[in-house]
Symmetry: C2
Subunit: 367 residues, 2 copies
């Protein structure tokens, strides 16, 4: 089935929800695997890459989790379609640029995606809304175990799974969460948080990974080490850090409310105002304001139900998503107009911010 | 009666209205006069300035237009009170900085104000809402004629009225209008307009005169020449230029609507949004947005009744006005919060922008 059919419905994780969904947007687990006897994709000629695809395809079709999944050679996808998959975190930017002999397989809920011949022969991912790292890991581990019975994985008894880049050697595991941290950002604690995370072997990055900005106060936290620890321990370590970060973020929000109530009300008020009434909205501005609306939902300034809408919009207002919605290529100016329309349409039922709840919340905390 | 009593009610011109009030905010006439036998205020010692005040005061009290007027030595006014008068265009910034021997007289409607010992012994002004240059001139001319029967004006048969600065010599007349020109500004025609005005002996300045920015798209147009022409001819010349400027501004608005409808809707939408929902608003931002709301009133996007409120707010949100309203000195941060509150309170009844009228208006024009 063509991947195009997937693009008009949002991925499961984009809808929001899941545990700790006020701060944790999504949880991702990625496993890197390679086939014994084949060069890594970066070294392989087109024919060898094609052989790897031919080898992997029947194994994937055979396992129940991926039955009825959507599979496609990268060359069959348009630039726009590939960009939509990148915006949904289903494929990497690097994979989107790949040519013949590279493929992608995605299940119907878009919770499992498998890139074939990205940096490794197999890059498998599970992505779920909220803090569900362990659930995502178990789901992906199941897929991995079933594939392992069907494919000759490159595995070394001392090193573990062999990968193209030594930073993935061992478990081939990257666990990451996308966190919404406006409290830490507004109280100027992000630099400190990032340095702290780095010291304990974690990386903090922007919304779209390395080298991207932390727009919308979204930060990705992931493990750096893949070697010398069990998968469950790597994940448990990350989970403990996330718990601490959630506490810090919640405290930071209270502190910001305490010290800068007018500033918070101003930013939330403006976010609501601009998203409801502007007619030209850039991606960056939309993300900034959506972040504040989401914070407003957490602070009882808006109904909690709005949080899901906002979470979906964070991806739906990205350039490729807009063009898929419009079924046509759009200039930047046209996108900015359509973005404003789509946001207005989605936020139509959202009532103006009501700051009485915010203050009550703060008073209760102080008792 | 103390001028303090005047400050809590807006000046007549601040309420808006009058002919051509969609574009012309106010019309001002100023006459410069001096008494024979006294040095100009800048050269006069304190005692001589006091003598001039003593000489002028009974004459002013004697004429019916200024009976019951509010008079005060500048030293009796607080810095804040003086600043309010500056923001209302009732005294000059220079006069606000003056010490002993300087005074100001203002009538109840605040349509007539007379500075004593500013640059000249007498600087008289009439200010009215809308395009009422000739009406303002006639009112001020009446005051001037009555004073002339009571005071020994310095007058030369060849040069006319003698003034401290030669640029005021002759009629001592400065006629000016405050125009709201968002159309010319948004269509990048202001530089050209200002150069054109300069060529025909007019000056175009920002809201608070020389060296001030044209915030809120407000521009002051005034005559440069005071010598060699009759008062009525100077005013008639300015009036003809204003008529042309009004036509240009109206055409520019249609053109901007034609070429940049989304941009106009965006700016008006954002102006509404921010003024309704922001909690911290600087003076500059408030003026920018109020200008767009005013344009929206002219374009049937908002009810026309809102124009008066917006016009009054243009002055009411200035720093000194805010502090007079609050009856206390406020920091910049406090002013920004109070400004947002006052604007919200005043725009409470304003319904969201309705852009259907705009398009209809444009379609009618094209028929």
């Amino acid at each position: 089935m063509r991947i195009t059919n997937l693009l008009n419905k949002p991925a499961e994780w984009m809808q929001g929800g899941g545990p700790e969904s006020d701060i944790v947007i999504s949880s991702r687990i990625r496993l890197a695997r390679n086939l014994r006897g084949y060069p890594f994709p970066g070294w392989a000629k087109k024919e060898l890459r094609a052989q790897v695809v031919s080898c992997i395809r029947p194994a994937l079709e055979d396992i129940p989790e991926m039955s009825g999944a959507f599979a496609e050679e990268m060359t069959q996808l348009s630039a726009l379609e590939k960009q939509v998959l990148v915006e949904r975190h289903l494929i990497s930017r690097e994979h989107a640029a790949k040519g013949p002999g590279c493929a992608v397989v995605i299940n119907d809920q878009q919770s499992l995606s498998i890139m074939v011949n990205e940096e490794d022969h197999l890059r498998m991912q599970a992505i779920l809304p909220g803090q569900q790292l362990m659930t995502a890991y178990r789901a992906l581990d199941q897929v991995d175990s079933e594939l392992e019975t069907r494919l000759p994985y490159a595995f070394d008894p001392d090193y573990g799974y062999l990968t193209c880049c030594p930073t993935n050697l061992g478990t081939g595991l990257r666990a990451s969460v996308m966190l919404h941290l406006p409290g830490l950002f507004l109280s100027d604690q992000m630099t400190q948080t990032m340095q702290g995370a780095s010291k304990i072997g974690l990386a903090v990055r922007g919304q779209y990974g390395e080298g991207t900005d932390a727009l919308a106060n979204l930060f990705q936290i992931s493990n750096q080490n893949t070697l010398g620890a069990k998968e469950e321990d790597i994940i448990a370590h990350l989970e403990r850090v996330i718990e601490q970060l959630l506490r810090n973020e919640k405290n930071a929000r209270l502190k910001v409310l305490e010290d800068h109530a007018a500033m918070i009300q101003d930013q939330i008020g403006r976010a609501y105002a601009v998203l409801k009434y502007a007619h030209i909205v850039s991606s960056k501005e939309a993300l900034t304001h959506l972040s504040m609306i989401r914070l407003g939902c957490d602070m009882n300034v808006f109904p909690t139900e709005a949080r899901g809408i906002v979470t979906r919009l964070l991806t739906a207002i990205q350039p490729a998503h807009l063009q898929i919605t419009a079924s046509t290529k759009l200039s930047m100016e046209e996108r900015d107009v359509l973005r404003a329309e789509i946001i207005q349409e989605n936020l139509k039922a959202l009532t103006p911010p009501d700051f009485r709840g915010i203050i009550q919340h703060r008073d209760n905390e102080n008792e």
